[in-house]
């Protein structure tokens, strides 16, 4: 097994949230003890509902959000502190793509200027070569040469997202964290961008963390998938396995909630209730109030994430490690 490019151990991020104007700040554990690793060239999908901490986790992997506890190692070395020159230098090899390209682009700069910016910031190549590099990046993401001098508002949503991706690729990153990169796009354009990301990844062997609430897209992008619920990973497995035979009750519900075109509503597992407020975490397993099979033990103690099969983990008291004996 190849070594992980990036590895996180026991990450915790707590926000202080004030309830009401004069209320006491209460701690919200947005990310609560998450460990994961991504190998070079691999895509890890992270799925979960809003408030499950998936975006916070993405930011923590890049060191933008500091961890209260736990640590991130990039290529075997601990991540430097946020804002330090070492951290800035390292950011050239780890980039982030957001959901809303219009917010991520500067509306007063042409897209060619923006795609070239990382080259100037990280001092890559000589000035004369940069224009050629920008052109190469634009063609790699499928933007036409004559679009170089356009401003973001002159492009369509899909083209803007392509520009953002080109910019992220400019510094030849080894890790790309994509936070809902195609959620704002129409179906036909979404497919274009998903295919493009897959191609770029294969050509450049970039490791990718792909965060999305859309299970169908994640299944298509990711090699491995981690499902998050209320700040914790509840199940992790290869993307083929997890969608075919989900084990954790929450994953089962998620998979069955995806409407399949052409199939009428029936026999689906519909969860009652809503994701709980992270500030007011249920005792024991955080999922137990909505879980159809919850037992007594689920209300009392939180299940740890443990192996339940080959390269497969889940956090549930009721799953037996039947596929393979549990190795401690």
């Amino acid at each position: 097994m190849t070594k992980s490019l990036i590895e996180a151990r026991g990450l915790v991020r707590i926000y202080q949230v004030r309830r009401g104007l004069f209320g006491q700040p209460t701690p919200v554990r947005a990310v609560d003890g998450v460990s994961l690793g991504v190998r070079p060239g691999e895509t890890l999908g992270i799925v979960g509902e809003s408030g499950s901490g998936k975006s916070t986790l993405g930011r923590m992997l890049l060191g933008i959000d500091p961890a209260q506890s736990g640590e991130v190692q990039f290529e075997g070395k601990p991540l430097p502190r946020f804002g330090t020159p070492e951290w800035r230098a390292l950011r050239a090899s780890m980039q982030l793509v957001y959901q809303d390209p219009l917010a991520a682009l500067d509306r007063r700069l042409t897209i060619a200027a923006q795609i070239g910016e990382p080259l100037a910031i990280h001092d890559i190549g000589r000035k004369e070569e940069r224009a050629a590099r920008v052109e190469e990046l634009m063609s790699a993401v499928g933007l036409r040469r004559d679009q170089a001098n356009r401003y973001p508002h002159e492009l369509s949503g899909g083209q803007r997202q392509r520009a953002v991706i080109a910019r992220a690729l400019a510094s030849n990153p080894r890790l790309l964290v994509c936070d809902e990169p195609v959620s704002a796009l129409d179906v036909s354009i979404q497919a274009q961008v998903v295919n493009m990301l897959r191609d770029l990844q294969e050509q450049r062997r970039i490791a990718m963390v792909f965060i999305s609430h859309d299970l169908k897209v994640v299944r298509n992008m990711a090699d491995r998938v981690a499902v998050m619920y209320l700040g914790r990973i509840v199940e992790e497995a290869s993307s083929d396995v997890i969608f075919q035979s989900p084990q954790h009750p929450y994953t089962k519900a998620l998979v069955s909630s995806v409407p399949v075109p052409g199939k009428v509503l029936q026999g689906r597992m519909i969860l009652q209730g809503e994701p709980p407020n992270p500030a007011n975490r249920p005792s024991g397993c955080a999922f137990h109030p909505r879980c159809p099979v919850a037992a007594d033990i689920c209300r009392k103690s939180a299940p740890p994430l443990r192996p339940i099969g080959r390269e497969r983990t889940a956090a549930c008291h009721l799953i037996q490690g039947e596929t393979a004996p549990i190795a401690a």
């Binding site: 299970l215 399949v260 809503e274």
Partner: protein
Amino acid sequence: MPSNLVELCDLKVAFDGVQVLHGIDLDVARGESLGLVGESGCGKSVTWLAALGLLPGKASVTGSVRVDGHEVCGAPRSMLEDIRWGRIAMIFQDPSSSLNPVLRIGRQIAEALAIHRQLHGEAAKAEALRLMDMVGIPDARHRFDLYPHEFSGGQCQRLMIAMALAGQPDLLIADEPTTALDATIQAQILDLLVQLRAETGMAMVFISHDLGAVSQVCERVCVMYAGRIVEQGSIEQLFSDPRHPYTRGLFDAIPRIDGPRQRLIPIPGTVPNPKHLPEGCAFSPRCSRAQEVCRTTQPSLESMQGGRWLACHSPVPEPSQAARARILEFA
């Protein structure tokens, strides 16, 4: 009495001289559930905003909109207000922006009841509580006096549906009602809509870009592209053998959750700008089956076998072949 609840005939809409809707003909029968699918900017929302007279003044609307046989396009405001909410209710994508943030939720529902059913005081409160129960708000009695921000997104959408039901409408227009919601909550709301329709027998128009969601709640679907209906048919017909290349392209572009993982098949290009629509069929520049005639003449929506409608010069070949090809793909 006419058989159809709502009949749209040659409905056209232009904003500042730019035509965005190019003549929509659409009937909604009593109790039926119709889906309207298309990408952003195809005019699926504008169609119904125009029909209900909800577009801003700068929009010019022509054509005919008949509700129960009465013409309402250009009708006086008082008549439109009777129809809106009373006969036809509409719910939108973002429930929190449709609710008044400074009014208690119970009062907002009671207000709708006062306007449309002349219920006041205790009677209104009792009915509002019944509606809240009906849409699945737990512990309605204690939450009657809460403000919208004290409810989650999914519950706000439930409250919007409760308000829409206040006028006992014959038709509920749901404009992307689940797009802003999480997957498990989306499943709950779709379920609720199906259940409410079964209980009340109202008709429903479900506007969405999500073909999966549409197929869960609708019986008939219209696919729209660039301000026109390009294909219309029952769910089974359309999903088993889409004939319009655009419909086919939409299906192919959706990643699948079952079956083998394969490369997605996108539709090349982008949706045309309504200011510069291509000559002929608006889809022709993106269409793999386009021929010479597609680039010069606009195809009209023609009736086909089995109650289907199609606007295409060179449709995807007959079902048998397409179906066989798909079976082979999965084998």
